[in-house]
């Protein structure tokens, strides 16, 4: 495929630069986990412990047969996580975020695929106008609409309920645009054949369009889930009650209350980051596809 050759030295230089840059890029995430596994006394030291004690000492202890001490070491390393789930609302916030992100993803997949199906495969007066009206609003940055959005949510009496975080997400237009582009590439003959066989319009959508649009749906699901899980500013505004905080807002409160307990703060950050890292590593190709297909990240 590629005929361009790079000399051996050139390759070595490229790898050196990339590896160095990757290390710099990944240090912050590494530092989240390292700090979270340290006990309070180990955090405020100079020079900092670049490798957590539990990692550097566990194997030597095990190999020299001191299983009890090794177990105590692991126990101590998990101390801040224990504190996090016992003394703060972290578990609750985690569930809130999980529920809201899952509902947002399901809702968006359903609503957007229906709308996209109609825009891509049906003829009706005003279709183009409605489509461009929706897509046109994508250029408006969400932050510009914070105040009127808050007023709408307040009028609907949704402030301090999870609905205030969930429902506005269902209005995002990106997915309609992306899925329509995807569905335009699906041949219409399949629909016609089903129609002749007496399938209802909903049947065509549900049994023909959705299965064929699976790759597009998977991509949209991943992008929606991540952006929902990570969103911060809007939930910060819409929710003031601790019981309905999402994880990022909860982390903000945690930080406000424990300004210098870095191992506790970092264990909280780790709890928020791990699901996203797992989702990303398992669905990497969908991230790449989604970004190159639709341009913007949700």
């Amino acid at each position: 495929m590629k005929t361009r050759r790079v000399s051996k030295i050139g390759m070595a230089v490229i790898y050196a630069v990339l590896i160095a840059w990757a290390v710099i890029s990944l240090i912050p995430l590494y530092w989240v986990f390292t700090t979270s596994l340290q006990q309070p006394g180990e955090v405020d030291v100079m020079p900092p412990k670049l490798i957590p004690t539990v990692i550097s000492r566990y194997l030597p202890l095990r190999l020299s047969g001191e299983a009890e001490e090794a177990a105590a070491l692991v126990d101590g390393a998990l101390e801040s996580y224990r504190l996090l789930f016992r003394k703060t609302n972290m578990g609750r916030w985690f569930l809130n975020s999980l529920m809201i992100s899952l509902c947002a993803t399901t809702g968006i997949l359903l609503l957007d695929s229906m709308a996209a199906f109609s825009f891509a495969k049906k003829e009706f007066p005003g279709r183009n106008f409605l489509f461009w009206l929706m897509v046109g609003t994508m250029t408006i940055p969400g932050q510009v609409l914070l105040v009127p959005m808050f007023m709408v949510v307040r009028e609907l009496n949704l402030v301090n309920t999870p609905w205030a975080v969930l429902l506005p997400q269902l209005s995002m237009v990106f997915g309609v645009f992306m899925l329509r582009q995807f569905m335009l590439t699906i041949p219409s003959e399949l629909m016609e054949a089903a129609r002749i066989d007496g399938a209802s319009e909903f049947g065509i959508y549900w049994r023909i369009m959705l299965p064929l649009a699976k790759p597009g749906l998977a991509t949209l699901a991943i992008l929606t889930f991540t952006s929902s899980w990570n969103s911060f500013l809007w939930p910060l505004i819409a929710i003031q009650k601790s019981e309905w905080f999402t994880l990022p807002v909860g982390l903000k409160t945690l930080q406000d209350q424990n300004l210098v307990n870095y191992s506790l703060l970092m264990s909280g950050a780790a709890v928020a980051a791990v699901p996203m890292i797992i989702v990303f590593l398992s669905f990497q190709k969908y991230f790449v596809k989604g970004l190159t297909l639709g341009g913007v990240k949700g």
């Binding site: 912050p28 530092w31 825009f119 940055p141």
Partner: protein
Amino acid sequence: MLKRIWKARSGYLFILPKFVFFTVFVLVPIIWSFFVSFQEYRIFGTEWVGLRNFRDALQDDLFWMAVSNTLRYAVVVTPCSVAIALILASLIHPLRPGAQTFFRAAFYLPTVASSVVISMVWRWIFQTRYGLANYFLSLVGIEPINWLHSSAWALRSVIIMAVLTPPGVGVILYLAAMGSIPESLYEAARIDGANRLMQWWKITVPLVKPTTLYLLIVSTIGSFQVFDQVMMMTQGGPGYATTTIVHRIYNVAFRDFEFGYAGAMSMLLFAAVIVLALIQSKLVSSDAEYKG
């Protein structure tokens, strides 16, 4: 006409659910935002105040402070992150597919962790006495810096964090763009005796220009809306040294509850973003024509 609409009713029905949410949470706020910025909100009802909110904003030192902080952030972060994305993608592109996937993941990983998580750990890295940043500086003999608590360094710290967080989206988009450049162009250049750097400068860079333009616009809009990092790392402080436009809007609207004033600032922000996007697309496209 009515008959045509009735015949096509299933088309409307499929759009209806989405359109309900779109109307309530997008169209209504857009329309409302025009009214909000011309009103003043009191405990008992509202009052029309014409352009007063806009005048207040333009005469407010704190607003201009926020604008200047945001500009200083955007002017450094946008070009740096696009340039870094271009360089990283150019280095990754010649590698084997396996290595490509690895580096693409490494540079995208910090993007999937939320900005809140990233900001929290950077606040810790920038801690004055025990932070990693000052530790690394001490290794090369530089005196510790009071990163987040001095007005000289606080904004710089936020900028450093943004520049060192790799532009994962940019790398992916550039790689996709570079993958679609026909190999024959490079072969022709090689026959003409162009070295690799010249090939890169004369072929790769001009041909990925649409991606560059897209990233510049998206990244500018993004840096004009910077909020999470500031909120998590400095709360806009010390003093107002790191207050950004969105942070100011947030404080005015949801701490002081001056919705009208915050609405006016939002409109000004929106206008600025649109104007900037237009200028950038003009600049980059005329540049492309110029080089032919």
